[in-house]
């Protein structure tokens, strides 16, 4: 479950954002649509606790993030939030498998190889686990980053433009997988995008 309350953020005096409140329960999905420059990524980073809001609050799994220390924020993010970025990025020196396991390691969780293999099978890249990530296609890379975001059984999955670099086939496939996987672990799925193709896939929508 994730919700926000009167979030405001400013990069400078001219560049100020105030965001509509959002709310997404467990097992629900939410699409946040907006054109470039509307602060989509800023909102996602606020929700992902990568930025600290000027005012307002974010509630993650029923707990307000106000008054948390930076260490607690990092731990909360690692344990509760899985993030999928617009362009999939990885630690290029590590294999696909190790990149997925990295989210366990960095969140101080036990490394679950079986789960990683299982996710790879479900997401259709089980043959590529020992390859380097740059040997994979964009669609495959995006599926790897989905697997990575699911490794710690997060409460919330945040996706920043997950489909904007993908063709229609891959776009459909990735969004279906995202919905299916987040439903399986009972997480809230929040997708931030300008990709109009996703409009019909989500019942709950917020426009920036």
């Amino acid at each position: 479950m994730i919700s926000s309350n009167q979030l405001r953020f400013s990069y400078s005096a001219q560049k100020k954002f105030s965001f509509p409140d959002i709310h997404c329960n467990d097992k629900e999905t939410l699409l946040i649509l907006g054109q470039s420059g509307k602060g989509k990524t800023t909102l996602l980073h606020l929700l992902a606790l990568l930025l600290t809001p000027e005012s307002g609050d974010v509630v993650i799994a029923g707990k307000s993030i106000k008054n948390l220390t930076p260490q607690e924020i990092t731990a909360t993010r690692a344990r509760n939030i899985g993030i999928i970025y617009q362009r999939p990025h990885f630690v290029s020196s590590l294999s696909v498998m190790d990149n997925i396991l990295l989210s366990n390691y960095l969140a101080n969780q036990k490394e679950d190889r079986q789960k990683a293999r299982h996710l790879a099978e479900q997401l259709g890249f089980a043959d590529h686990l020992s390859k380097k990530t740059n040997q994979l296609s964009q669609g495959e890379q995006q599926r790897v980053s989905i697997a990575r975001s699911l490794m710690n059984n997060p409460n919330i999955i945040l996706a920043d433009e997950p489909t904007s670099n993908l063709d229609d086939d891959n776009c459909q496939r990735v969004i279906q997988l995202l919905k299916k996987q987040s439903a399986q672990i009972g997480a809230s799925l929040v997708v931030v995008t300008h990709d109009q193709r996703l409009k019909d896939e989500f019942s709950n929508q917020v426009f920036l």
């Binding site: 690692a78 630690v91 020196s93 960095l106 969140a107």
Partner: protein
């Protein structure tokens, strides 16, 4: 998964950069380590053979040459001195022992040294088999001589004139091996030791003052001498090793000899210090060069990490967003620098041993000295920590940027 594994993966990802950094460290460490090894072993070899010899008397010439030829057997002797003058030194109350030496022949490059039993006593040489030479033309050989020339007890051989193996052979007179010394790590290992009289018997030069290395060969059958400390009128020796009874000898005797006799006195401690200070210039230059190479290695680690960090900024932000603490990532980068330092150190230590082995081979061929001690020196432990320090500093400087990295902006930029 652990930090070490990620660090190594990162190093392997940038193979050439890592290789260059490690190679420079290897070179620097290898050079310093080789210098330490050579310095120590030369020092040991020189000190060990020098022990208990306060003065050497020889023909006038370079005092360093007298020392090198008489104690270390690596240079040509300066000439001959009359045995009578040498023996006159025994009467001096400050003199404890006088060991006359006579040389001029070799067998397969190993010097044949005519001397008194005191010489063997002085170097504390123990017999491995057989017995000490007793009669003229009997020899007892050092362990290295036995090993390399394959001479055994009972074998007979004829020496060659001069100090290298190309000299003319004394075919008509043969030496007989009667004993072999145990290895002692001293100059005795590489010598064929015999009575003074054997050398006279072989040569019997009409004019005694000629340098043995250039004298024409002129054989006449000599008399057989059997007394242990011969005092032959008209006989020459090459030099003599002198031990003083007390330090007072050092004050007066050398000057007396230099002023009043045809001989010259050389003091080993002074000459060897002079030799080392001459060598020292070269060693100092090499050491400076090695330190420069090590510094360049440090700079190379720095640049390579700095560049790779610029490339990997997004990776770092990603790992931070996934729950990594900045300190953890800082450690990861430190491990990269440290791993290079450790690799460079051990490769350097191995390289220095290979270098020493090559050097030792050639030293053995030219001087019969072997420098085959490959154990880790205590100084190399300091060198290890020095290398680690360079790795840490070179890695830490660029890696401090991790504490200033803006996660959100870095992730949003691409």
């Amino acid at each position: 998964m652990n930090l070490f594994k990620i660090s190594i993966a990162n190093l392997r990802e940038k193979k050439l950069n890592s290789f260059l950094s490690a190679l420079l460290l290897t070179l620097g460490i290898g050079m310093i380590s080789l210098l330490l090894l050579l310095n120590k072993q030369l020092d040991e070899q020189f000190k060990r053979n020098l022990k208990g010899i306060d003065m050497v008397v020889g023909a006038k010439g370079s005092p360093l040459q007298v020392i090198l030829s008489s104690i270390y057997q690596i240079d040509a002797p300066t000439g001959n001195i009359p045995l009578a003058e040498v023996n006159a030194l025994r009467k001096n109350p400050f003199v404890k022992t006088v060991i006359p030496l006579s040389m001029g022949d070799n067998y397969q490059g190993f010097r044949i040294l005519g001397t008194t039993p005191k010489y063997v006593e002085h170097f504390n040489a123990k017999l491995a088999e057989g017995h000490l030479y007793n009669a003229s033309m009997e020899v007892t050989i050092g362990s290295k001589v036995a090993r390399d020339s394959r001479l055994k007890i009972g074998d007979q051989f004829s020496g060659s004139h001069g100090l290298d193996s190309e000299g003319e052979k004394h075919e008509d007179k043969k030496y007989k091996v009667v004993g072999i010394f145990q290895p002692s790590g001293t100059v005795v290992d590489q010598l064929i030791i015999t009575r003074l009289s054997s050398v006279w018997d072989i040569h019997e030069h009409s004019e005694g003052a000629e340098a043995p290395a250039v004298a024409e060969v002129e054989h006449t059958d000599g008399q057989v001498h059997t007394d242990p400390e011969p005092d032959e009128e008209g006989k020459d020796v090459t030099s003599a090793l002198i031990q003083f009874r007390n330090p007072m000898g050092l004050m007066t005797i050398p000057r007396q000899i230099n002023d009043n006799t045809s001989m010259q006195a050389a003091l080993p401690s002074i000459e060897i210090n002079r030799l080392f200070s001459l060598l020292g210039v070269g060693i100092e230059t090499l050491r400076t060069l090695a330190l420069i190479i090590i510094s360049i290695a440090g700079v190379s680690v720095f640049i390579s990490l700095y560049n790779s960090l610029k490339d990997r900024k997004y990776e770092m932000a990603l790992m931070l967003s996934m729950g990594a603490t900045r300190t953890r990532l800082f450690l990861m980068l430190l491990i990269e620098g440290l791993s290079l330092a450790v690799i460079g150190f051990f490769a350097g230590i191995i390289a220095s041993r290979v270098g020493l082995w090559v050097f030792s081979k050639s030293a053995e061929q030219d001087f019969h000295y072997s420098l085959g001690k490959f154990a880790l020196l205590p100084e190399e432990v300091y060198l290890f920590f020095g290398a680690l320090a360079i790795g840490v500093v070179a890695a830490a400087l660029p890696s401090l940027g991790i504490y200033r990295l803006n996660i959100s902006r870095t992730l949003a930029e691409e």
